[in-house]
């Protein structure tokens, strides 16, 4: 299995002593440690790697990096599958399994290629113009189209891997560890700054082709590695640049290790970096040339060809045509030539290949065709010939077309500075006509650019700019720029008027120059329209190779200068980021904190069914011996009504309000008056939003003159606390009040039922429980079950009831004492509580209220003080709030007592007569009342209890139920039981 017919015998940064076996499309191959999947495939002579998105054209490997639009592969299988990995970025490891995407049965023969035959019918945006017949026919066509959609496949199960997020702070973040980045990091580090240096590749050193240069960079790297104030992150792509110098970077921790990854490491780590300064040394990305059939396997970027031969010791072909509109590709031609690739010709679109590089090539004996262009290519699964013609001064083709046989076309259409992060940071881009490139302009945040991102073309300038940026010194941004001498066309003209041969601009999405011209012709002339109409730059490569040429062709078509057409804003991320890494550990058990009361373990052991209330877990009911929910709730309710029950009410919000102006605060927040509440007494309170809508309710006890303990509902605890703080701090700083949340410090157990007094009496000897001594709405301090406790005589069930409040640490002891066998107390859950309070007609916040209900709607005028202002009072004075047609709270009784209306059922004045019906209200709460032996319901209905006639109709799925409006207090309306 030595194979690797395209591998050089020596050279490159690969380790020939470590062969690595892998499979691609079911066939086994061997590469070497240090290979990428792309370089290993090329070494094995595999050039056809996949198919394009729309036309299913055969495609190979275009690049050697993150900009790759073509060579997408499916990696791994089952739950570990990865959908659209770039072969140019996948580091080879033993046992790697990869396959082509978007082709069936395979890349060599793909049924989807029928699209290519029909390409004339399906230009850019064709789908906007058809599939409209018959009416709603789109639903049929869409099904067919969707089958063709997508590239790779989603994994088949939950992700077995782990991810983590890491926060980091630094003085200087340097992005990119090429010559400029290394120089910047060293300068910053020598100045004493804390530095993070991040690079997407496995090693610092950038992509310099020259071994001597690389060696010098190695020294810098070694120095940095020894410094304590420098952290070097490899395989780490800085991919998002947000406000206030917050950046995210994705570190691929174990992807390159495959199945041998140590179990303690996460697969990937998302770095959240806050940087004092940022130096972007992100380099530049080479552009392809736009000519007919420029997309065949075997046609690649010149820089990529050079990287494969130099870095990976792989020949990307044996006979090459190099085509360029700038000097940089000559280096590629020379390196290929030196390593034994026959150079059929260097085709230079410029009339005069000036300067040292062309001369060097000529001296090496290479044939240079200046003022020529590659105009077409042939070869189905691999390029076979390049067709070359002379290019006139006006950019048109003249003379005969020469055919050069080759198996590699290495092309360079110039360079795009990698300004993506700079643009994400809010930076403006300026089109430089001389450089034919968008350059960073100004500094939107504390950010500097250094090296090829500024257009610098030589290593010395890159290093100089890097050093200056790292040290925070001024530099010459324009240093090392090489003007693009040519006015070479952005798209090589077609050979004939018919436009034979598509010229691809966006390889992945199959956008051609003709598509761009079509968009322009039809009026999609903003660059954003162009993108959206043609899908230019919308692929997984986000247009890194094609966007600028696309823009230029649009400008040319419209006869405008490129800046007049504009550039799109680059959006995060620069390179795709795994969802799992973004979520980090916030999944599964850690998705959201779980709040449990101190008695939770007891509930669990008692077999409680829990209900999520916000983050809390509350016992919903306690089924016994195969009881249904209905049975358990009925049993719990009856126990409270006939004997006694206990409920864990620890989740209620508890706020200590104290200070000289505590009463004043309560007066302003609650609708009722607090002036005369004495120590030892409690009062129910209702608070409104400033819009007059009910916000929350609860009981407040006066602990001492200016000390109050306020309770809130479970779901609103933090909201109410924040609400009070906000008023105190922002509006009433003159009030001398201190708030302390005691929700977690105190536990509350409600003991309710006719036997409650007797049971409590057995557990306390220092609280006088006689009704006269300890009346309803009073509280007492003492010991209960030997524990220090405050006992509040309040009731949400309508029974004689005590809420016993103890420090959270004592709660389990209290609960255990209360539920001891001698007391015959029944634990009850939230559902029984709901039923019991509904029997009493008590409102439940969030159920009878929904943010649109006023106290007037609840017939609670009695709680609105007329002697003071309070939050929300003025809003209640608006005439519409007293509209007789507003929905008001009522009780509802079904004709058939066995019928329990569904909660949320809508209410009609008349039997249904056909939609749309006029709905006059809805059922807010509805239960089977085991106490009354019938159904009960609360509802909000237009006109409320004044409604005439009092009969309403409730349509259900299969029938309509008649119900009559009544007093919402179904049980013990005069409160004899709880007052007793």
């Amino acid at each position: 299995m030595t194979g690797q017919p395209y591998r050089l015998a020596e050279g490159g940064a690969i380790d020939r002593s470590r062969p690595v076996g892998f499979s691609f499309d079911g066939r086994r191959y061997t590469g070497f440690a240090g290979d990428t999947l792309a370089s290993a495939l090329l070494a094995n002579g595999v050039t056809l790697v996949g198919r394009s998105f729309k036309y299913h054209r055969p495609r190979g490997i275009l690049s050697a990096g993150t900009e790759e639009p073509n060579a997408l592969v499916q990696l791994g299988t089952g739950a570990r599958g990865i959908a659209n990995a770039k072969a140019t970025r996948v580091e080879l490891h033993e046992g790697l399994v990869a396959s082509s995407v978007n082709c069936w049965p395979g890349p060599r023969c793909d049924l989807g290629a029928l699209n290519d035959l029909a390409h004339r019918l399906i230009p850019a945006g064709f789908y906007y113009k058809t599939f409209m017949w018959p009416h709603r026919g789109w639903h049929f066509y869409e099904r067919l189209i969707r089958r063709m959609a997508g590239l790779g496949r989603a994994p088949e199960g939950a992700d077995p891997d782990r991810y983590e997020r890491m926060n980091a702070h630094c003085d200087v973040l340097v992005v990119g560890a090429g010559p400029a980045g290394l120089a910047a990091a060293r300068a910053a580090a020598r100045g004493g700054s804390r530095v993070i240096l991040a690079d997407e590749r496995g090693l610092p050193g950038g992509t310099l082709p020259d071994a001597a240069d690389t060696g010098r960079l190695g020294e810098t790297t070694a120095e940095l590695e020894d410094l304590d104030n420098v952290r070097i992150l490899v395989r780490t792509t800085v991919t998002g640049y947000f406000d206030h110098n917050f950046l995210i970077a994705l570190e691929r921790v174990t992807d390159h290790l495959g199945p041998h990854a140590p179990a303690h490491l996460p697969r990937q780590r998302l770095w959240r970096i806050r940087a004092g300064r940022v130096v972007l040394a992100t380099g530049a990305l080479e552009r392809p040339l736009v000519f007919a059939n420029n997309d065949r396997p075997g046609i690649m970027l010149a820089s990529a060809a050079r990287a494969y031969v130099n870095r990976f010791a792989v020949l990307p072909g044996r006979r090459a045509v190099v085509v360029t509109d700038n000097d940089s590709a000559y280096g590629a031609a020379l390196d290929l030539h030196r390593n034994g690739v026959e150079i059929a010709a260097v085709v230079d679109l410029r009339r005069n290949g000036e300067g040292g590089k062309p001369a060097e090539a000529r001296a090496a004996g290479l044939q240079i065709l200046a003022g020529h262009a590659v105009v077409d290519s042939r070869g189905r699964r691999r390029v076979r010939t390049a067709h070359v013609a002379r290019l006139d001064d006006d950019g048109s083709l003249t003379g005969p077309v020469r055919t050069l046989s080759c198996d590699l076309i290495a092309m360079s259409g110039g360079w795009n500075p990698a300004v993506h992060l700079f643009s994400q940071a809010g930076g403006r881009l300026r089109y430089d006509e001389a450089l034919r490139a968008f350059l960073p302009e100004g500094a939107p945040q504390a950010v500097r650019c250094a090296g090829a991102i500024n257009g610098a073309a030589d290593t010395a300038s890159c290093i100089a700019q890097g050093r200056a940026a790292g040290a925070g010194e001024p530099d010459d941004r324009a240093a090392g720029r090489v003007e693009a001498a040519s006015r070479a066309p952005w798209a090589v003209p077609a050979r004939n008027r018919a436009g034979e041969g598509r010229r691809f601009v966006d390889f992945q999405n199959d956008v051609t120059s003709a598509d761009i011209a079509l968009a322009a012709r039809e009026g999609y002339q903003s660059v954003e329209h162009l993108k959206r109409y043609t899908t230019l730059g919308m692929g997984t490569d986000q247009g890194k190779t094609g966007n600028v040429a696309g823009l230029a062709i649009l400008a040319q078509t419209l006869g405008l200068a490129i800046p007049e057409v504009g550039t799109t804003t680059f959006r995060p991320p620069y390179d795709p980021v795994t969802f799992g890494a973004i979520a980090g550990r916030d999944v599964g058990r850690l998705a959201d904190p779980v709040r449990r009361t101190p008695i939770h373990r007891w509930h669990e052991e008692a077999g409680a069914v829990f209900e999520d209330v916000g983050q809390w877990k509350r016992p919903f009911y306690y089924p016994q011996d195969g009881e249904t929910k209905h049975g358990a709730v009925a049993r719990e309710c009856l126990a409270v009504r006939n004997a006694a029950g206990v409920m864990d009410a620890s989740t209620l919000g508890k706020i200590l309000v104290c200070g000289p102006d505590a009463r004043a605060l309560l007066n302003r927040i609650y609708t009722n008056a607090w002036d005369r509440l004495e120590a030892g007494r409690c009062r129910y309170g209702l608070m409104l939003g400033e819009d007059g809508m009910v916000l929350d309710d609860g009981v407040t006890a006066c602990l001492a003159g200016n000390r109050f303990l306020t309770t809130t509902t479970t779901g609103n605890a933090s909201r109410v606390f924040a609400w009070l703080e906000e008023w105190l701090q922002t509006e009433w700083p003159d009030l001398d009040v201190y708030l302390t949340s005691l929700t977690e410090q105190l536990a509350t157990v409600a003991l309710a039922g006719p036997n409650a007094r007797e049971i409590l009496a057995a557990l306390t000897d220092d609280i006088d429980l006689e009704p006269d001594a300890f009346p309803f709405m009073a509280w007492r301090e003492g010991r209960v079950a030997g524990l220090p406790a405050r006992v509040f005589r309040v009731s949400y069930t309508g029974e004689l009831s005590y809420e016993i409040v103890v420090p959270a640490g004592d709660a389990m002891d209290l609960w255990t004492a209360l539920t001891g066998p001698e007391h015959a107390v029944t634990p009850f859950g939230t559902e029984a509580m709901h039923v019991l309070r509904a029997e009493k007609g008590y409102l439940m916040i969030g159920q009878e209220t929904d943010g649109t209900v006023t106290p007037l709607d609840l017939d609670m005028q009695w709680i609105l003080s007329r002697k003071k202002d309070f939050i929300g009072r003025r809003s209640l004075a608006r005439p519409a709030m007293r509209d007789p047609l507003r929905k008001r709270l009522v009780g509802l009784e079904t004709g058939d007592p066995a019928t329990v209306l569904p909660e949320g059922a809508q209410i009609l004045a008349e039997p249904p007569s056909g939609v749309p019906e006029a709905m006059i209200g809805h059922v807010t709460s509805s239960y089977w009342s085991p106490t009354l032996g019938r159904s009960i319901a609360l509802a909000l209905v237009q006109g409320g209890r004044d409604r005439e006639p009092p009969t309403v109709h409730v349509p259900l799925d299969d029938r309509t139920v008649r119900a009559s409006i009544r007093d919402p207090r179904f049980y013990d309306p005069d409160g004899v039981r709880m007052n007793g």
């Binding site: 113009k129 496949r153 947000f242 009026g523 954003e528 959201d592 779901g715 943010g851 519409a880």
Partner: protein, 416 residues
């Protein structure tokens, strides 16, 4: 207007597609129009189209400071539904959905309305109760909606995780089968082309710099392309509504916030429905191209920058992976933000202003795309007749003084 069809496509294929006409003209703004619509997004273009079509008017311009559909029309997650709780909203959004259902034919432009169903998930007892209330109200308003139990959710969305051991398990869902998605850009382009064909001038790169008012009546607009006189002006500028209103001396109950959205890389179809969850806060669908289109929560502070904060994305990814564990290894391809105009009651303002001849349509917040044709239809009626249609009368600016709000914040927090 050249009709689009498979036949015209085939005919043009013969000529290498070199004779397609412009989808809309690019006219110089005239010095005066009867009606000027400010804002060339979906709502503004729809307004112009229906003014021309339903009310026989043609002396109309739409002026847009950037490019057509470049605001929230081209930045949303393309969800269309009409499953609203309150009657006022239900009727307005249903009008819009009905118009959507015939829009491709009406505009002769395929907007790719895909009525694949919208699921709203319930994760606790309180959610279930809210769902019941909502679905019953929606049905009685004559709009399709049904309730699914967890197995029903699984049947519609096989990749959903319905395990009861989830932190917030899926306990059920509502499903509006007529809900779905559409191609957002196509909605703007389709309306632009059809309005243009009826004589509407669509002027891009034309920013309003001032609003001329005399004697309490609008006279025209100052723009970067000169003064344009107008008898009536409709402001339809979403996130920039407050800025425009301030030019007319008006204050609005509106705050502009960034709303983020994102797409994954394209994958083979795995998700047929639109799935939304308010409790764990994420919504997702899969486009015809194969990308997952994902919506995030709104950023918490006023912004005009179309840039959001990353922690919003982090929070929602956790939620997404909880619901769909197989998504964990997919990748985020592109993320962006739109500027949404949010009203205190999460309902829009569509109607007259205190200035005669000046109308406003704003406050659609995070949900404007689904309303596009309906919003244009009622706004056109309001401008043409100088009074609101019954469908948008409840959405007047005056409701903030009267207190008759239409609170669509959805389920209030559970609180027992």
């Amino acid at each position: 207007m050249t009709r689009y069809s498979i036949f015209s496509l085939a005919r043009n294929a013969m000529g290498y597609h070199r004779s397609w006409p412009r989808a809309w003209r690019s006219p110089q703004p005239r010095p005066s129009y009867d009606i000027v619509i400010v804002g060339g997004g979906g709502h503004g273009l729809a307004t112009a189209y229906y003014l021309a079509k339903e009310h026989g008017l043609s002396d109309i311009a739409v002026i847009e400071k950037g490019w057509l559909g470049g605001g929230n029309t081209g930045r949303n997650t393309t969800i269309i539904r009409s499953n609203y709780l309150w009657d006022e909203s239900a009727h307005l959004y249903e009008k819009s959905l009905k118009l959507y259902e015939g829009l491709s034919q009406e505009l002769n432009f395929n907007i790719m309305l895909s009525q694949r169903g919208v699921l709203n998930l319930a994760h606790n007892e309180h959610d279930l109760k809210e769902l019941s209330r909502r679905v019953r109200a929606i049905r009685l308003n004559g709009i399709d909606s049904e309730i699914l139990d967890p197995q029903g959710v699984k049947a519609e969305v096989p990749i959903a995780n319905i395990s009861p051991s989830l932190r917030y398990p899926i306990l059920g869902a509502s499903l509006q089968r007529r809900g779905g998605i559409a191609r957002h850009d196509a909605v703007a382009w389709g309306f632009a082309r059809a309005a243009d064909a009826r004589g509407v001038d669509i002027v891009q790169n034309c920013e309003v710099t001032g609003i001329d008012i005399a004697d309490g009546r609008v006279q025209g607009l100052e723009t970067t392309r000169g003064r344009i006189a107008a008898r009536k002006v409709g402001l339809v500028a979403a996130g920039h509504s407050s800025v425009l209103a301030a030019m007319a001396g008006l204050r609005l109950p509106i705050e502009s916030h960034t709303l983020q959205a994102m797409v994954s890389e394209p994958i083979k179809p795995v998700l047929n429905s639109v799935v939304m969850s308010n409790t764990v806060h994420v919504y997702v669908s899969q486009s015809d191209k194969g990308e997952l289109v994902i919506g995030a929560g709104m950023d918490g502070y006023n912004s005009y920058s179309q840039r959001g904060s990353f922690q919003i994305v982090e929070g929602q990814m956790g939620a997404l992976i909880e619901l769909f564990p197989i998504f964990s290894r997919l990748s985020l391809l592109r993320q962006w933000g739109g500027i949404v105009d949010v009203c205190p009651d999460a309902s829009p303002i569509v109607g007259k202003t205190p200035v005669d001849g000046l109308f406003i349509n704003c406050g659609w917040g995070t949900g404007g795309f689904k309303a596009t044709p309906g919003s244009g239809w009622v706004f056109a009626h309001t401008i043409a007749r100088d009074r609101p249609h019954a469908l948008n009368a409840p959405f007047a600016l005056e409701r903030f003084a009267s207190g008759v709000l239409i609170d669509e914040h959805g389920a209030a927090a559970v609180a027992h």
